[in-house]
Amino acid sequence: MAAVRGLVVAAAVLVAVVLQVSVFPYLAVDGVAPNLALLLVVAAALVRGPDLAAVIGFAAGLAIDLAPPADHVAGRWALALVVVGYLAGRVRHDARTSALAAVVTVAACSFVATSLYALGGMLLHDPDLSAVDALRVIAVSVGYDVLLTPFVLPLLMRLFRRLTPKQAAY
């Protein structure tokens, strides 16, 4: 069963990353596409806790870093999503009680992830971007991720609940 669960999670990561680069650019606002991988990590964190979420964050981030249109230094999205998975996992007891708390968690995670990624870019000069541009993109992406949350997060959380081993469920 563990192998099946692992395969399902790997497939979910693959689907999220592919949708993010092949489909969502056509729905982009101001060039910013919703970060589906981030929502996947947050859902994992809320249902299963920081450990699994950090691992999924690493895998999904690595996929974004390495899959074809990416041309930035590898490991930057992985770092951002590991941190987000851990943070979201730490606050999950508060966040899983109400929808509003979940939305706030997504907003915070989106802010942290995109900021970490942008900060990494500024430190590595990859590319050399200005704080104003970065803040604009961060604001738009937080908004877009929050907008997508009510449609996507419940589905993803249901997926992870299903994947929870029987003895550990409720």
């Binding site: 592919v18 489909v23 450990d51 690493f58 870093d65 390495l66 999205w77 770092l79 590991v82």
Partner: protein, 305 residues
């Protein structure tokens, strides 16, 4: 959820963070010999075909937003374009300068078309988002079609960018609007040389900055910028139109004139592009020779000029 492990594992987190930092350091230091390169190859081989298939499924739905454009909106658009066309015609007739310029532009375009470049046709199947702060796209042609790094990519309207990485079935293209993209450009009217840099704006209004080598030359508004060409035509072949000068300003610090260039290519709506290859390239798909581009994509081409 009391039966879950309450304390998250510190060791796991530290391990994952260390893995990230190691990868970032190795990739940032490694340059072209980065250990991430083979990993990217593997990722390309896995994700490339999936992205390709997804793009094929999604493609029919991309026209959906256009259905919602009402007839009224289209009529207004036609009226607007007609008046603009008339204004342009009168401008052209009025000043010999503009006429001269138009003739030159025509000649340049013809030259680029007649120079006999062979193209591998490809479709854009994935785009990087603004969150990544890089402007790159994936195209569905790779090394099996004769596409290799440092090749020029163009479309009906002009220069698109260059190939930075190629896998078997896909390739990654760095767009002109990317912040790290620098192209040698030449002013169509005076043949002056300069450098065209991207600004990192991925939306429709993505503009480019042109910095001229000779500070005493002032580019004119409306001047056409074409690519200047690199050694052995890699990464950029010469004579491909890049954009039109929109405004000019001088920077006292650098003692040179800078101009804002509006690219001919709409980078937010890229679809079919061509990769310039050697005409003897072995490819698994038919090459387009320069002469035949016009007949194959003539309908689309008219809108560009």
């Amino acid at each position: 959820m009391r039966d879950h492990r309450q304390r998250p594992s510190r060791g796991l987190l530290v391990l994952l963070l260390l893995a990230c930092f190691t990868l970032i350091t190795l990739d940032a230091r490694g340059g072209s010999h980065s250990p991430a390169a083979p990993l990217r190859g593997v990722a390309g081989a896995v994700f490339g075909p999936v992205e390709d298939a997804t793009a094929t499924v999604v493609r029919p739905f991309r026209a959906v937003p256009h259905f919602f454009q009402s007839t009224n909106a289209l009529r207004a658009e036609v009226a607007r374009l007609r008046s603009r066309n008339a204004a342009l015609h009168s401008q052209l007739a009025a000043t010999s300068y503009t006429q001269h310029q138009a003739a030159e532009l025509d000649g340049l375009l013809r030259a680029s078309r007649q120079s006999g470049y062979a193209l591998v046709p490809a479709q854009v199947i994935a785009m990087g988002s603004a969150q990544s702060f890089t402007s790159t796209v994936t195209i569905d042609a790779g090394t099996s079609s004769g596409v290799y790094p440092d090749m020029t990519v163009l479309d009906n309207d002009g220069l698109v960018g260059r190939v930075v990485r190629a896998d078997r079935s896909t390739a990654t293209v760095l767009l002109l609007v990317d912040q790290e993209s620098v192209v040698g450009g030449r002013l169509g009217s005076s043949m002056e040389l300069g450098f065209v840099r991207g600004r990192g704006e991925t939306d429709g209004a993505g503009q480019l900055d042109l910095q001229l080598v000779d500070g005493s030359v002032t580019p004119q508004r409306g001047d056409v910028v074409v690519s200047w060409g690199s050694k052995n035509d890699r990464p950029y072949v010469p004579g491909i139109p890049i954009g039109r000068v929109e405004s000019v300003y001088s920077s006292p610090r650098e003692q040179s004139k800078e101009a804002v260039v509006a690219p001919f290519v709409d980078f937010s709506a890229l679809d079919v592009v061509g990769v310039v290859v050697n005409s003897h390239t072995h490819s698994d798909r038919p090459l387009i020779n320069a002469g035949r581009i016009d007949s194959a994509s003539g309908a689309v081409h008219g809108a560009g000029n």
